[in-house]
């Protein structure tokens, strides 16, 4: 009888590319030649094929990767296969979260002519989360920023439930998120009033996640009263909306506009009654302050933004975390959808890359020519994602709210996302 090794080794490798990595690992243990074939190959053909056929999106095509990047295909694939084992059988949850987040980050960006292709990475992440209990932890469980970051990218899309009829877990998420969002102590000058870590060097994902949860649950309360076209795409399409260039028309943006600033945007702002806000902060931030029947107000605004300038000073560019994405200054207008709001407000702001690589949006809007508000937010998912920007809108004259100037007097969570040009024509129910 002839053995497997009568085959030319390239054909043997070729046949292994049709197997699951687990089979390949088992095969490598059959004998020395098998082991050498799998682990001592001079090229990456076998592991690259196994990786792409798993299937995962090609990391060479991810945003920021160069087509000539070298990848440790076998290491990357093993980590992901191992993550599946952890999700099913338990193990180091940090390793699991790292693999899931890496997969979301490396999801294939949308490209012209392939706008409707799904991302294998996103499907894989969703499948793991649906089939395992990775998310089924108590809401109080604050394992890490990693879990908060993962949750912020999901926006409860895998956790159905509306208002008081929602499962206890989801209601608990809402309670905890409200307490976080309406606690003025979470809006700090040293974090530049946004959902950031100190000196705004990175994103504070627990804060972003709380904002996402508050807005998502409020919109669910409205049901069909809040039309689908006016909802954040993350709540409608889930994780696919986090892919780079998934926002409308961003594949056709001008070359300078790396962040997809130009065009129409929609913005949802939620707020609780001002007296409640004061009482909550003055009475010791009681965990039960916002009960399950509590209602906030939500407003929809539309914006039209255009690029004003892009940083070109070589000295500034040299200090940037990513010189290919220089800070953009933009301007535009904003107005509400209510019949009484007839006037556009001026908006001015910047978008830039933070030291941790995330994309930060900062802008101010002017009300009645004196009352100024500032917005600080972070892009969820890849550059130009449909998911958009989540952040906090705070009274710009922060020192008025607090004698020490440490906290703002007013702060509202917001969610900004790109709109189809046609969308504002859809009717907004009065």
């Amino acid at each position: 009888m002839s053995s497997f090794f009568v085959m030319p080794s390239e054909v043997a490798e070729h046949s292994l590319t049709f197997c699951h990595p687990r089979d390949v690992a088992a095969f490598s243990q059959t004998c020395r030649r098998a082991h050498a074939l799998i682990y001592k190959a001079t090229d990456q053909y076998l592991w690259r094929s196994l990786f792409l056929r798993y299937p995962f999106d090609d990391p060479r095509k991810a945003v920021g990767a160069s087509p000539t990047s070298e990848f440790d295909w076998s290491g990357k694939l093993k980590r992901r296969v191992f993550a599946e084992t952890i999700a099913r059988q338990g193990g180091d949850r940090h390793e699991l979260l790292d693999a899931l987040l890496e997969c979301i980050e490396e999801a294939a960006p949308l490209s012209l002519g392939r706008e409707h292709e799904h991302s294998h990475n996103i499907s894989w992440v969703e499948e793991i989360l649906i089939e395992s209990d990775t998310l089924a932890l108590e809401p109080e469980f604050t394992e890490s920023e990693k879990l908060a970051r993962l949750r912020a990218h999901l926006a409860l899309s895998l956790e159905p439930g509306v208002g008081t009829a929602a499962p206890e877990r989801v209601k608990a998420f809402r309670r905890i998120s409200r307490i976080f969002v309406y606690d003025l102590r979470n809006y700090l000058a040293e974090c530049q009033w946004g959902p950031f870590t100190a000196r705004a060097e990175g994103v504070y994902w627990a804060h972003v996640n709380a904002i996402v949860n508050v807005i998502t649950m409020n919109l669910r309360d409205f049901g069909i009263q809040w039309p689908r076209d006016f909802k954040p795409p993350l709540s409608v399409y889930g994780l696919q909306a986090t892919r780079a260039y998934s926002a409308p028309d961003t594949l056709k943006r001008s070359p300078l506009d790396w962040a997809g600033v130009e065009g129409y945007w929609m913005r949802i702002v939620c707020f609780c009654d001002y007296r409640d806000l004061i009482r909550f902060n003055a009475s010791g931030w009681r965990a039960g302050f916002f009960d399950d029947e509590y209602e906030e107000a939500s407003r929809l605004l539309r914006l039209n933004l255009r690029l004003v300038s892009v940083e070109t000073d070589p000295e500034v560019l040299a200090k940037l975390p990513d010189p290919t994405r220089p800070p953009i200054t933009f301007g535009g207008t904003m107005r509400g959808f209510n019949a009484e709001e007839q006037l556009d407000r001026a908006v001015r702001g910047t978008v830039r890359v933070m030291p941790d690589g995330n994309i930060r949006w900062s802008f101010t809007s002017i009300y009645d020519s004196h009352d100024q508000w500032s917005s600080e937010g972070v892009q969820i998912g890849g550059v130009c994602s449909a998911a958009g920007v989540v952040g906090a809108w705070t009274g710009a004259y922060h020192e008025h709210g607090d004698p020490a100037g440490k906290h703002p007097c007013r702060y509202r969570p917001f969610w900004l996302f790109k709109a189809n040009e046609a969308t504002p024509k859809a009717s907004w129910p009065e």
Binding site: M1, S2, S3, F4, F5, V6, M7, P8, V11, H14, S15, L16, T17, F18, C19, H20, P21, R22, D23, V24, A25, A26, F27, S28, Q29, T30, C31, R32, R33, A34, H35, Y39, L52, R53, K78, V81, F82, T85, Q89
Partner: protein
């Protein structure tokens, strides 16, 4: 490389564009087959180009038995005139051969035969057949343990006991 023997071109009756080829197997069986059936084989196509350059047609000697050769001819006859992307030398190689039902049935043979077909297909450079055979091998070992794979593939365990107990891969979970 096979030795090439001259044959009298007049013994090969032309029928339209499909001329005949004489293939000689390692057990010295002479098999006449229409050229366009075998054009799927890059090896044969290159031989034929050589004939045209020298205006001399030869028998093509092949280093495998008539039993295997007939099997390959059966495959090529089945797909005669069919376009298969993998066999197009001008097309970018596809990432993965598609599953072809007929091939699965055709390759439902014992390991020995399958390995001999693979060697022949590789020699003849019939990429679609190599791809389908590779798939068939993968189907044989999918979900099997290391021990079962040794049995299926006819592989001897030549690890020392120490080597065997130092798993080098995390994927086995």
């Amino acid at each position: 490389m096979p030795t090439i023997v001259s044959v009298d071109d007049s013994t090969v009756p032309g029928e339209g564009s499909s001329r005949l080829l004489l293939l000689v197997s390692s057990d010295n069986k002479h098999i006449v087959v229409e050229e366009d059936i075998m054009s799927r084989s890059r090896f044969i196509s290159k031989q034929v180009e050589g004939f045209e350059a020298t205006s001399q047609r030869h028998a093509i000697l092949l280093p495998f038995s008539s039993f295997v050769l007939n099997k390959v001819i059966e495959y090529c006859s089945h797909y005669r005139g069919y376009y298969l992307l993998e066999d197009d030398p001008d097309a970018a190689p596809p990432g993965r051969s598609p599953v072809r039902e007929w091939d699965q049935e055709f390759l439902d043979v014992d390991r020995n035969m399958l390995l001999r077909i693979i060697k022949a297909a590789h020699y003849l450079e019939i990429k679609s057949l190599v791809g389908s055979c590779a798939r068939a091998i993968a189907d044989m070992i999918r979900g099997k343990t290391t021990e079962e794979m040794r049995e299926i593939l006819g592989v001897e365990n030549d690890f020392t006991p120490e080597e065997e107990h130092s798993p080098s891969s995390k994927c086995t979970g």
